[in-house]
């Protein structure tokens, strides 16, 4: 057996920098910006709309159509090396006029840096943004969840379908502000729709086509699936 992997240390690109300390008295606005913000400005010019430092974290607002290039540069460039994607999420504000923001939290483990990228999706148009799955595999389920909760389509995602709610969920996108807390339908109707799924239909058509096993199912099960019966996924 091999010796195992070589250990990669966070902060390896920082050389002899002192060990990090707990931040104290972080200001509301202002403070030192992440050097990547300046580098981004230099590299991408006006694709970077705004840079703000809020409670110690640098927020970079970018144009939605340039997101993939920017993230790819941040990942590949040797002076940035943002190799870790913490989170992909979206924020919808209570103000109906305000655009929905898609937020990426990136970390550079070699440089020990944290960056927050934001792209504002304009209201009135269908919600679409590039998927960063081709750069970070960890974005797979995070983007699926964002789609499930907000309805934002991630262009380039290999398998964008609902993940937390079942695929035939008809009430809408739960985390939108126009979606009421208790859902749109009455409780009995929600139960009816939930119970309409037959867990013994077992596999969705998609899974069966993956396994190329549809022909091998018992006739009764095939009839059920062809009749549109859903597994509750």
């Amino acid at each position: 057996m091999s010796d195992g992997f070589e250990i990669q240390y966070a902060g390896s690109a920082l050389g002899n920098a002192p060990a990090p300390v707990t931040p104290r008295n972080v200001p509301n606005r202002g403070g030192d910006a992440n050097p990547s913000a300046a580098a981004l400005r230099q590299q991408f010019g006006d694709a970077i709309q705004r840079v703000e430092v809020v409670w110690g974290v640098t927020n970079v607002y970018v144009r939605p159509d340039r997101v993939l290039d920017i993230v790819r540069w941040l990942h590949d460039d040797n002076s940035q090396r943002y190799d870790y994607l913490s989170d992909v999420t979206a924020v919808e504000f209570r103000d109906m006029e305000a655009p929905i923001e898609v937020v990426w939290h990136l970390r550079s483990l070699p440089f020990r840096r944290e960056l927050r990228l934001k792209a504002q999706l304009p209201t009135g148009k269908p919600l679409e943004i590039a998927s960063v799955w081709s750069i970070y595999k960890g974005a797979d389920w995070l983007e699926r969840e964002c789609f499930d909760m907000f309805g934002i389509r991630f262009v380039g995602h290999p398998d964008l379908r609902r993940i937390l709610m079942w695929e035939q969920y008809r009430e809408g996108f739960p985390l939108r502000k126009d979606f009421p807390l208790r859902g749109r339908f009455s409780r009995a109707e929600q139960l009816r729709q939930a119970l309409a799924a037959n867990p013994e239909a077992r596999y969705s058509m998609e899974e069966l086509s993956i396994a190329d096993a549809f022909e091998d199912l018992p006739t009764e099960m095939r009839k059920r699936l062809q009749g549109g019966e859903r597994t509750g996924e």
Binding site: G183, R187, A188
Partner: protein, 208 residues
């Protein structure tokens, strides 16, 4: 079953012409004693209550002294379904199917506030009490209930089991859901049971 009113148990029905005699009473006692003291649980554990259930089964609180240490994860071999944890709508057909797969005699314990009524999750995703989906015998409140609380609920279930009579034909009947809507109880009753009450009515305001 859990929702039909049971006759008052302190009232003894005496029917002079009935054929139920000494043998039938002893048989009842034996069967119920056997059932009550060896209830094999089907732990339908979803969330935090499942951890407290595990703690109840572990050394300090020990469910083995109730005859319940044999957790049967197959519903076909279980007596009592202990729903420990919150049940979202996506999980509803699963718990319904597991309940239907359990053979009679079977009982259900709703462990915790989430299984009993939905608890703090009064929102689009959570079933407001599993008694809207399956018939429940004992509700154990708490979030999560202490192991002693769960054991008290189990003891109450044992009392309930011991009160069953074999010549009561309605007690072990399988409740069939309405074929169209798949609901056991009428829709308006479900809506009424699931209505928010108390403080949660006011908490739908955001802002302020």
């Amino acid at each position: 079953m859990g929702l039909t009113p049971r006759p008052e148990h302190r009232v003894v029905e005496y029917n002079p012409t009935s054929q139920e005699g000494w043998v039938a009473t002893r048989l009842d006692f034996l069967v119920n004693w056997g059932r009550a003291n060896s209830l094999w649980p089907m732990p339908f554990g979803t969330a935090c209550c499942a951890i407290e259930f595990m703690a109840t089964a572990a050394s300090r609180f020990d469910l083995a002294r109730f005859g319940m240490e044999r957790m049967s994860f197959s519903p076909r071999q279980a007596d009592v379904l202990i729903c420990a944890g919150r049940v979202p709508f996506k999980l509803a057909p699963v718990i319904r199917r597991i309940w239907q797969q359990m053979p009679q005699p079977k009982w259900a314990i709703a462990m915790g506030a989430c299984a009993s009524s939905g608890n703090i999750f009064d929102n689009y995703a959570v079933v407001q009490g599993i008694d809207t989906i399956i018939p429940v015998d004992v509700y154990v409140p708490g979030c999560p209930p202490r192991p002693e609380g769960l054991m008290y609920g189990i003891m109450l279930l044992q009392e309930k089991v011991k009160r069953e009579r074999m010549n009561d034909k309605t007690i072990r009947s399988e409740m069939e859901p309405d074929p169209n809507s798949k609901l056991y109880i009428p829709a308006p009753v479900i809506d009424e049971l699931s209505e928010p009450f108390g403080n949660s009515v006011h908490q739908t305001r955001s802002g302020l």
